[in-house]
Subunit: 349 residues, 2 copies
């Protein structure tokens, strides 16, 4: 039985929703191992009053497409790593999310993208930080894992490596979206700064709040192996060179043999608390359930520290937890039956 647990809008009333997948899987051969894919597309102030029907439909459709893309790989016996990468690429290629095409702008009016991936079976990991010309940072992260001795490459070196590794590159202008540019100008106006394109002053400015739209995916494949990945454009108005939690193994992404996680939110808190690893550490060391572990980290440690965001988690038994202390989180999961379950608001399952 797979347990799916999520968080209602009010953390104090955290209800555990248990969904027996037994019925849904009744048509499967008894020996077929369960496969599960879980995704998020960012946590934040996501409410019905700020959403149009058209926009909501676009998010639900893209989340469903991402889930089904990864599911096809898992259903065919493919590796969890392949499913994670393919799923995240769908979201990176969409302007809806703050990753790849839809990345937010830095204080200097640039796009600097971060991503990481981890293979739970081997414990290997790869990541890139601050790339500017890689179309799909998650694939660059995987190339770092598979083609170098390193885990994390940053900035120009990471761009150069990705190009040498044969990954698709784009002009920085590819990442321009009017929505994200307007968000930066609005932020700058609020800070009393001049409009861009003049290079931004490097004076201390307040952050723009949580970045909505970091994407992540977790997979449990037919071999019982877990994988995790995360990709982001970071935080609007971030200082040039700022690296958030998404490319940091243990902060934004984690996978081991028992547990996989991906986070989204105010990255600095996720680094300081080591959120992604901490969920799995509590599972392993405190022998908590996945839901309890995620709950302690998000509604306990993160909320106590004053940070906001969410995490998706998946264990080797196929249990799913989706926890956030914000109004909403774009999220979803798909099991062996191939039915995509997509949610946005805090009062949804």
């Amino acid at each position: 039985m797979t347990t799916i647990s999520t968080t209602p809008r009010r953390p104090g009333a955290a209800a555990l929703l248990t969904i027996a997948l037994t019925a849904a899987c009744a048509g499967q051969a008894a020996e077929a191992p369960p496969t599960v894919l879980v995704i998020h597309g960012g946590a934040g102030t996501i409410t019905r009053t700020e959403m149009t029907a058209e926009r909501e439909a676009a998010y639900r459709a893209k989340l469903t497409e991402a889930l089904e893309t990864g599911h096809q790989i898992l259903a065919a016996g493919g590796a969890g790593l392949d499913a994670v990468e393919a799923t995240i690429r769908v979201m990176e290629d969409s302007p809806l999310f703050n990753a790849g095409k839809g990345a937010v702008f830095t204080a200097a009016g640039r796009n600097e993208l971060d991503a990481s991936i981890m293979d739970g079976a081997s414990g290997k990991a790869g990541a890139v930080a601050g790339v500017t010309t890689v179309k799909n940072p998650i694939s660059a992260a995987r190339a770092v894992m598979e083609k170098t001795w390193h885990v994390l490459l940053a900035a120009d070196g990471a761009d150069a490596f990705a190009a040498q590794a044969g990954l698709e590159t784009v002009e920085p202008g590819y990442f321009f979206t009017q929505r994200r540019w307007d968000a930066l100008q609005k932020r700058r106006t609020g800070d009393g700064l001049e409009p861009l394109p003049a290079p931004a002053a490097a004076a201390r400015t307040s952050p723009a709040g949580p970045a909505y739209g970091t994407v992540g995916a977790l997979a449990l494949d037919a071999k019982g192996q877990l994988a995790a990945g995360t990709s982001t454009g970071g935080m609007t108005n971030k200082r040039y060179g700022r690296v958030g939690d998404s490319p940091i193994i243990g902060a934004g992404t984690w996978a081991d043999q028992r547990c996989a996680t991906s986070g989204t939110g105010e990255g600095e808190y996720f680094i300081r608390l080591g959120v992604a690893r901490d969920v799995c550490a509590r599972l392993a060391y405190l022998e908590l359930s996945l839901a309890e572990a995620a709950d302690q980290v998000i509604h306990g440690a993160l909320s106590k520290a004053g940070g906001t965001g969410g995490v998706i988690a998946l264990d080797a038994g196929g249990n799913v937890a989706m926890r956030f202390n914000t109004e909403g989180m774009y999220r979803g999961w798909i099991g062996t039956d191939g039915v995509a379950h997509v949610s946005i608001y805090g009062d949804e399952e």
Copy 2:
């Protein structure tokens, strides 16, 4: 009673050395809280046969100077963060260690420095990765923590921030040392590559093995607060843009209210295993002693994964653990009595 535990050369024979500091502290007023500073200067193939008497004396003298510098701050009631920063600056300014002045060269013949610092009381942290013009990267890490909303700044952005923050900058040539340059040429020759200064081919090359000389410091101050810091030049022949564990909170550095750690060794393994945080997580969640926690991570997880290196650890009770699975680790500690204890080889205390 403070427990000091270290690792003999053969991990299997790990002996626990317990030293009662009661006698040494007999002259202190009973109400004086204990202060402790612990440092490392890198782990690796450090053996008596490869060491000259002159060189060994130089290391012991510099480690002692670093310990005494931090101790003076702690003895005067200063903050652990101040002690950690000042102690690491002494080692960064010495060409003996792979940090600051003595940093190793990248595959491209550059010096790219990483550092991080964490305040156990507040949980705040700061880090820089890939800086090339900052004389003391540990101070830049602290400035990131105290003067920005971010935790980690990388590459050009980090250099620019450090300069704007008023930190001392140097020309990249400041970091040139013949010893480290020769190490790179030797490595390149072994890989069948042309000698530099021609820009290095970005073809996959094997790493140079553990970086010897990453430095770290941990402090317990008179208020009972812990702090941790780590600084490094990374790995000889590292790929341009490679970021190791030292600037990664949770991998190379960790401090919370109960436990502080700093690591040194093959950084990629330290990231994949989240070594620094894992020691403190096992202390907190498994209720192990500091020595047991460090032992499990270094002689358990790290050795099992095939990685080499070491970690220093300090808890809020003033207990010290220094664990490594290499032949030696430059290391030392100093307690309330101000007597510096310095060790290098695996068969020393």
